[in-house]
Subunit: 467 residues, 2 copies
């Protein structure tokens, strides 16, 4: 294993120190009798400059091989750099080339490549500056998430990926089966004989771990999920993935207000953590991808989120239309769901910061959200953020058995499918609440990337399951 990563050498290496550098060549500059190579090991955006001169054994053979993409091990000494842009560099004493990368065929030559092109080489794109920064930030966001919850005594719970309930209604589901699709067994009546399938019933990929997280919250009070979820929707957009990671905290003895407080603290924590640990990468995104990335992060860290009810939001939107401050494609009226354009107007134009919209009409929200006293709205909340729209959706859950049964019946749901979920209301029910964060959405939001396919190592989208 690498003894000392390049990030550490760049940070604290001192002249005259001997070092072993292992990594991949990003660029080579040949001069008369010596050459500079930039070596990167993925630990930081910055590469380490290595000077190879003719005293290095096998100089001319090595120089032919240390092209972009080649892997090298350099033993050398740190020297103060004469050039601009770096404090130190390494003077090579010996160089070993583990693997070369033929410049005629290696696709990542020193030039800008389009993200579209890079998607076709998903096995190599992590070696570019953009994707290097991306996956370091992604890791930092994930780490911030665990840190936030673990520090507060939440348990990470692993809810099932394969599920037999298709009743959450959050979207179309993929089927999971051990059947040979060419020979699906049928019973005498000609129906599929699920008794012969692995789980002896139809099964699907989960769209959410929330219902199971509620089970765990009724024992541990505060829990969170962080795992993959799936949608079989044929949405070929820059914001949809068929497979994505979701974070779903669930808190017992918690109401909507505390749910919002936690969600706001959570988002602030993530941004702070990434700004502290990935500053260089975030500056790269700000410079190359979206000039507002740093400003947006500061906005989130330093401002209190706006909080308004759905009913107030509709009034504000109606007023804006009336005054011709804005034109919407979709009309606004109480009782219909807010469209992305409406949410964006509120957080981008009107409030210019993340906005929490609460208490939506019951008929446009899920059955498990707690019915408000007026019986018209539910204790739901959506956090919408400038430039990306909805980033968090949450609610206080319906903890009253009779109300929940009524809501399920109204939506045509069968109690026997969720007998265990109803049991949570039969035995020691408590007010509880939670929310869901789309992990890729926040990484996209944070880095300013235009397409969500570029914030996950191997995106799954319609007609694409490569690598």
């Amino acid at each position: 294993m690498i003894e000392k990563r390049i990030a550490e050498i760049l940070r604290s290496g001192q002249p005259d120190e001997t070092v072993k550098v292992q990594g991949w060549v990003r660029t080579k500059r040949e001069l008369k009798g010596f050459a500079f190579i930039e070596v990167n090991d993925g630990s930081s955006m910055a590469s380490l400059q290595v000077v190879i001169n003719e005293t290095v054994p096998n100089y001319s053979e090595i120089i032919k091989k240390v092209n972009t993409g080649a892997s090298v091990e350099v033993d050398g000494v740190i020297v103060a750099s004469q050039g601009k842009g770096q404090r130190i560099e390494v003077k090579a004493e010996s160089v070993q080339v583990y693997g070369d990368a033929d410049p005629e065929v290696y696709p990542l030559q020193k030039k800008r490549h389009s993200f579209e092109f890079l998607r076709t080489i998903g096995h190599l794109r992590a070696r570019t500056n953009s994707f290097g920064a991306m996956f370091r930030v992604r890791n930092a966001v994930a780490t911030a998430i665990h840190q936030f919850f673990q520090e507060r005594g939440f348990l990470w719970v692993h809810t099932p990926i394969i599920t037999a309930s298709d009743c959450e209604g959050a979207g179309e589901m993929f089927s999971v089966t051990s059947f040979d699709l060419n020979k699906i067994p049928r019973n005498k009546e000609g129906a599929i004989d699920y008794s012969k399938d692995f789980f002896a019933r139809p099964t699907y990929l989960t769209v959410s771990g929330q219902l199971e997280a509620e089970v765990m919250a009724m024992a541990f009070s505060n829990v969170y999920t962080f795992g993959p979820t799936f949608r079989a929707e044929n949405s070929n957009t820059s914001r949809h993935l068929a497979e994505f990671w979701m974070v779903e905290p669930e808190m017992a003895f918690c109401d909507l207000k505390e749910d919002m407080d936690l969600a706001e603290a959570f988002l602030k924590h993530i941004f702070k953590y990434v700004m502290e640990t990935c500053r260089e990468d975030m500056e790269f995104f700000n410079e190359r991808i979206d000039k507002t990335v740093l400003e947006t992060a500061e906005n989130i860290i330093n401002n209190q989120f706006e909080r308004i009810t759905y009913t107030e939001a509709v009034k504000l939107l109606e007023k804006a239309v009336e005054k011709a401050d804005v034109q919407f494609e979709y009309p606004v009226s109480w009782g219909t769901d807010l469209q992305s354009e409406h949410e964006r107007y509120l957080c981008e134009q009107l409030f210019k910061k993340p906005t929490i919209i609460t208490n939506y009409p019951a008929q446009i929200k899920a059955f498990y959200m707690r019915l408000d006293e007026d019986e018209k709205t539910v204790s739901a909340m959506d956090i919408v953020a400038p430039k990306i729209g909805e980033i968090i959706g949450g609610s206080q859950r319906e903890e009253r058995l009779d109300v929940l049964q009524r809501r399920m019946a109204a939506q045509g749901m069968k109690e026997e499918d969720l007998w265990w979920y109803l049991d949570l209301r039969r035995f020691g029910t408590v007010p509880h609440a939670g929310f869901g964060l789309g992990f890729e959405r926040i990484v996209q939001f944070m880095t300013g990337m235009a397409n969500i396919r570029d914030v996950i190592p191997f995106p799954r989208t319609p007609e694409n399951a490569e690598f």
Copy 2:
């Protein structure tokens, strides 16, 4: 949300402090004019004793309701406890019962329930002492894993769950499809028309993220996966799950020796972390589940693991059989895989500690493992541990393009299916290595639980996808 968890109150609460306690009643003891209830909120094995006397408003109504399983909020004052077994208790000033739990129907009454029975109430079992301890330990193991790798600069990478490659050969796979299984479209030739499926090709649930982790290691040097993996094998045993979580670190510039060093340090770290953070739960397992749990943990933390080659292992096993020290069901001979009974003899009887067996015959190991100089064995390693058998499997990977191609051909694999994996050897290849840890296996090992279904919240096994 709960302001102060019961674990914290028990640890640092002082007499005369006023507290709000929120949780679920574990037991009730009624005496003349007052009652004791034990309240648990999942933050610790120990419950908090609350004394309710007649001065509490609605005393008699409350006493009827605070049965096992009921949820309560108690406002009260900490007092030094007169009874044995606890330093402090809470004298209630007011009690609110959020939800009761009818003793006639609530399944978790105060008595021992079999784990078999508890599996049928997977939505409630987390409220028992055993599963409380279990899921706190599970969370601690998960946290220890992230901590270990993050401290060492590894990136957590999310490898895909849905995959189009069925060529890793690690086991039977589940199919994933958006087809209506009742109407699978067919083309003119009568074959399944996969162009109409979501991904326009057959897709499966992943059995391992290793190959994709290698992609990421070739950019970031040190990475790890931690996510769900699947096997569609019809194994109805106490050690198999159809859905389980796996941890797979992958290191560039790393050989088998360093791979073993890391794996050993990793296991020691996990055990140390859990012993430090979940002492009370571990003592519970030691007392109630398996009397060797603490001893085994100390053994792992304090001993250097034994390291022997497969060839040496076979010799030792042959010698043991010859001397009639042991009888095996399966014969031992060089070239066949070690059976569980052989591994257990080595680590339990002979060495009495975790044992790393290395350099297995090439023909019994996967195509990607690095061929040794003798061309007979590969640089693989398995760590086998007393009482559970194989817990970690790893290897140095074959980084030489021509050797890898030869190995794939020998196993009848098509290069075009893994063109991107071969590319990693074409462009900047480096020696690299990694290993896989079955997450549930280590939790099972650590807690001494007999059945792996009892170490994951909602187990998926043949004919079972409940909850």
